[in-house]
């Protein structure tokens, strides 16, 4: 199956070691940019108590939740260390400065 992509903005819209949000009718998606310009898209909702991961500190390919400091892998959405939990990840693609997210984002969230 060929993946359909939706353009969401530019790499330069996101600070290095930072994140921006995509609003969807079913919840927010956080788009992260690492120190070496890798990009990741994750559900913007910590499985612990709902913290906005997009407001966390980004380090390496991890983000620390701003509410109680759980650490998540941006690559897998898995909580690091002994805590248990995972957030949904979404396919994202970069073409030079342009960013695209899988067009399936809306059904993917709705299906939860």
């Amino acid at each position: 199956m060929t993946e359909e992509w939706t353009e969401i903005g530019r790499l330069s819209d996101i600070p290095r070691r930072g994140a921006r949000c995509l609003g969807t009718p079913f919840g927010r998606i956080a788009v992260f940019r690492t120190v070496d310009d890798a990009v990741f898209a994750l559900e913007d909702r910590c499985p612990h108590k709902g913290g906005p991961l997009s407001d966390g500190i980004v380090h390496g390919t991890s983000v620390t939740c701003p509410l109680h400091n759980w650490v998540f892998s941006l690559e897998t959405g898995q909580v690091q260390g002994p805590d248990k939990g995972q957030v949904q990840t979404f396919a994202i693609r970069r073409d030079q400065d342009r960013l695209f997210i899988t067009a399936s984002i809306i059904p993917a969230i709705a299906a939860e």
Partner: protein, 428 residues
Amino acid sequence: MRDTLILGQAFRGGGAVDPLGAVVALTDDAEICGCNGVCKGKITGAIAAKGLTSLDDVRAHTKASNSCGTCTGLVEKLIMATIGDSYNPAALQPMCKCTDLGHDEIRRLIVAKGLKSIPAVMQELEWTTSCGCAKCRPALNYYLIADWPGEYEDDAQSRFINERVHANIQKDGTFSVVPRMWGGITSPRQLRAIADVADKFAIPTVKVTGGQRIDLLGVRKEDLPAVWADLNAAGMVSGAAYAKGLGTVKTCVGSDWCRFGTQDSTGLGVRLEKFLWGSWTPAKVKLAVSGCPRNCAEATCKDIGIICVDSGFDVVFAGAAGIEIKGTEPLCHANSEDETVEIIAALIELYREQGRYLERIYKWAARVGIASIKAHVVEDLSKRRLLYERFVFSQGFAQVDPWQERVNGKHAHEFAAMAEFGLPQAAE
């Protein structure tokens, strides 16, 4: 539950013959960590089952001691009681898992080697991670801003969200907004502006804080710049309630109104707040000025307090009224407002230069000793003057209202979504 917690805290004060006796005697269901509801059995069980050997391990696996830290002493005793002497709490604590170096050593090297950016520190001091973690980055950002005023460029991405967007994140991801009310004084104009903002942005809770000002809670992140614009228009600036920096200066009405007032405590409080605001410190700094020894502003449990007396100003410091409750220590007597202001600025500067990130003034004072602090800011007038001058120099770069900067467009990316997607047509 509460009984065992209190028993535990009372015990921590020391005095028992066998320092571990009381924790050993606690039953397995005794609550050790009140923040996270962790009982003794869960902690000792995890230490045994998972082979935990450090406080950090226990924090990660059980959550005990992972929030406010009040129970840390008890948790350390449980580790000692469970694994014996191999646990050494006095060993040098590395800043975080990215380095073996402790705070003091890192700070010494930042100055000695002239390191002026976070990547430079990490490279020169051989950090084991590519760009640190959520523990070391805010600490390094503070040390660099305090040690290289005017040269170091603040790294917003290394700040906790509250200091990045200049508001306090709440449990639901909204924010709270606290404008400055200098010395706790407000006016009909300010109060009207606050009421109008609360109406206009449907702000659900308006609360009077313990620091003599007003907190607007439940503001949506995207509304923050517009809320600030309206508050700015009425002459209000950020109260920095979110900052490791100068928070409030509480005052009583002093000689302006009170029949017992010996000095203008309100005026001095306003003057101090206007002089000190904007400064970054290792942890938050709260002051209070009382107009006479009746101490209505509760100055004797603050980081820094002033008790006005007929002959001048008694300056006290190193109090605490949070996780711990501790009365202040006397620092000195000053004869004039000018002298008081100079001494307090010197004290804060010494704390900025020596305090470890997140270490409140009372902890710093206990670590370095009251005598050494007095030697710098009271007894040696030339040292005091130099500290004061360094503080004044750094204030030249610090006193910019962060709300106004953001009203004018700084960091706009923080407050707007990158893209918004509506419902797909087919779903309508």
